[in-house]
């Protein structure tokens, strides 16, 4: 589904932030991306999302070489990816409902066709009573849940989540984690960037991409 081969990234003439990253995200797989703060987790996620271009190496996504994707194909690829940003990236002038419905709207689906779907998901993430609220009046946890709902609403094949439980209480964190696991079971590949050890241990043995000093190491506890 997503393959990195000797991928390196540097900004300008600086040293490489990501070095020789080679790994594979298989279909219907679940993995954490972890490492100390500032190690490059968000950068690696942005490379996976194709919002950054590697300075060397090759990224293959959905059997397509990322370097050869034109704007139209890139749009097609992004529609198959759900992403939760660490800073939520909700559009401040849109209501919670409109923010969550955005991925369906940009696909050209009729609002009446997805209304019930969006409301149901919002209720599931505990935002049933915040449908009309603007992001400015949502708490950090509520924004995070809205961002997660937006990433999930189009049932992506690959979900990339950057610290998705960073702003919620443990109970909601566990609930959201279960949501990601359910999503994984329904066929979505999930990559969750976190440095929350408790969260990773809660699921037992699970595949991890560990990034430190720009090097990515794959640890698959299921295989050991």
């Amino acid at each position: 589904m997503l393959r990195f081969e000797n991928v390196g990234l540097r900004y300008g003439l600086g040293s490489e932030i990501i070095r020789d990253a080679s790994f594979n995200i298989a279909p219907q797989s679940f993995q954490f991306l972890t490492g100390p703060s500032g190690a490059g987790k968000t950068t690696l996620l942005r490379l996976m999302l194709l919002s950054l271009k590697p300075t060397r190496g090759r990224i293959t996504i959905f059997d397509k070489d990322a370097a050869t994707l034109d704007a139209e194909k890139l749009t097609g690829v992004r529609r198959r990816i759900g992403v939760v940003f660490q800073d939520f990236r909700l559009l401040d002038h849109l209501s919670t409902y409109d923010n969550v419905a955005l991925p369906l709207l940009v696909q050209g689906r009729a609002p009446s066709a997805y209304r019930a779907e969006v409301v149901e998901l919002l209720k599931w993430v505990g935002l049933g009573d915040r449908i009309h609220a603007l992001p400015a009046v949502l708490s950090g946890g509520e924004k995070q849940r809205a961002a997660i709902a937006r990433a999930l609403i189009a049932r992506p094949e690959l979900l990339l989540a950057d610290e998705p439980t960073g702003n919620v209480d443990p109970e909601m964190a566990w609930r959201l984690l279960r949501l990601f696991v359910e999503l994984h079971k329904s066929g979505t590949s999930v990559v969750i960037a976190t440095h929350d050890l408790g969260l990773m241990e809660a699921l037992g043995p699970v595949r991890k991409l560990v990034i430190a000093d720009g090097n990515v190491q794959v640890i698959d506890e299921n295989e050991t």
């Binding site: 704007a71 940003f85 002038h93 409902y97 409109d98 709207l105 696909q107 609002p111 449908i131 189009a154």
Partner: protein, 310 residues
């Protein structure tokens, strides 16, 4: 009402504008568009008004000829005037003939020379004004020749020179109005172009999020176009309405003042200040054109900006 029913009260069209409307720069741009549209509409309406006035002048002038009977030594001016009137009356090109009396001439010269003058001591030419049935060159040539025989010192003026001047002036004024309109349209296009770039730079976060959630460049461009379309529609609406209002007020004021001596003088000089229906149509057409142009320009600039981003 159950909870589910309440949930479905979510608007059926949840698509709040993806580009926020009520921004300071948006309002400023709307004001600029309104002002430029107002000026463009004044150009268009003024052009139509000038064209209509010019056409009325030409029509009036082309329907008449003037014969000047000049006094000269030993001539009986009154007899010459009578001969000219008789010849003109019998011409098939002429509908009616009016010879201005000395009193009429005195009255027409009063604004320049003052009243109460004894013109009999001055060599004032007498005017004969003939209204044409048609402007047949052959008939007019015959009439000119007949008058030259009967009154050799009379000056036959078929107004052609004056007509050609009027036509040229009317054409220049209309061209000038069209040029002004083009300049204003260009200013609007440039303003929209800069505003689109500014709006896209300001909405960089929005554009980025839209890209991440799978929006195509075409989708984003369409929304920017819609945003500027709406903005310019509001601006041109205000500007166009103000222009129409100004013409209506001008028309009312002209009608009110037409009875006075200044009004009469203005009517004589520039015609009636009455914008024909086609003028209002031109203003509406200008508004529609400017809105379409603004939408098109916004689309082109937004698409170029997105191409540059990618």
């Amino acid at each position: 009402m159950s909870e589910d029913e309440e949930d479905l009260s979510v608007p059926n069209t949840p698509v709040a504008a993806l580009i926020p409307h009520d921004t300071v720069s948006g309002r400023a741009l709307m004001a600029v568009i309104a002002i430029l549209t107002f000026l463009a509409c004044l150009c268009a309406g003024g052009g139509v008004l000038l064209a209509a006035s010019s056409s009325a002048w030409r029509s009036e002038v082309s329907r008449e000829i003037t014969i000047q009977v000049r006094p000269h030594a030993g001539a009986d001016v009154d007899a010459e005037v009578k001969r000219v009137v008789m010849i003109a009356s019998t011409s098939p090109a002429i509908v009616s003939v009016n010879a201005m009396t000395l009193a009429d001439t005195e009255k027409s010269l009063a604004p320049w020379l003052g009243s109460g003058l004894d013109l009999s001591q001055l060599p004032i030419p007498r005017l004969v004004v003939a209204r044409l049935a048609n402007r047949d060159p052959a008939l007019l040539a015959t009439l000119r020749a007949d008058i030259a025989k009967a009154a050799p010192d009379a000056v036959f003026d078929d107004h052609m020179e004056w007509l050609s001047h009027l036509t040229a002036v009317g054409r220049y004024m209309t061209l000038f109005a069209a040029l002004l309109f083009l300049l204003v349209a260009a200013a609007i296009a440039i303003a929209i172009g800069f505003a689109t770039r500014g709006a896209m730079a300001g909405a960089r976060e929005i554009v980025e999020v839209l890209h991440f959630v799978g929006a195509s460049d075409r989708f984003i461009t369409r929304h920017f176009q819609r945003y500027f379309f709406r903005l310019s529609a509001e601006g041109t609406g205000v500007g166009g309405a103000a222009a129409i209002l100004l013409f209506l007020i001008g028309e009312l004021a002209a009608a009110h003042g037409a009875q006075g001596p200044e009004g009469v003088a203005m009517t004589v000089l520039v015609g009636s200040f009455r914008l024909p229906l086609i003028g209002y149509g031109a203003i509406l057409a200008v508004c529609v054109l400017l809105v379409a142009m603004a939408g098109l320009f916004a689309r082109i600039v937004a698409a170029a900006h997105l191409r540059a981003l990618s």
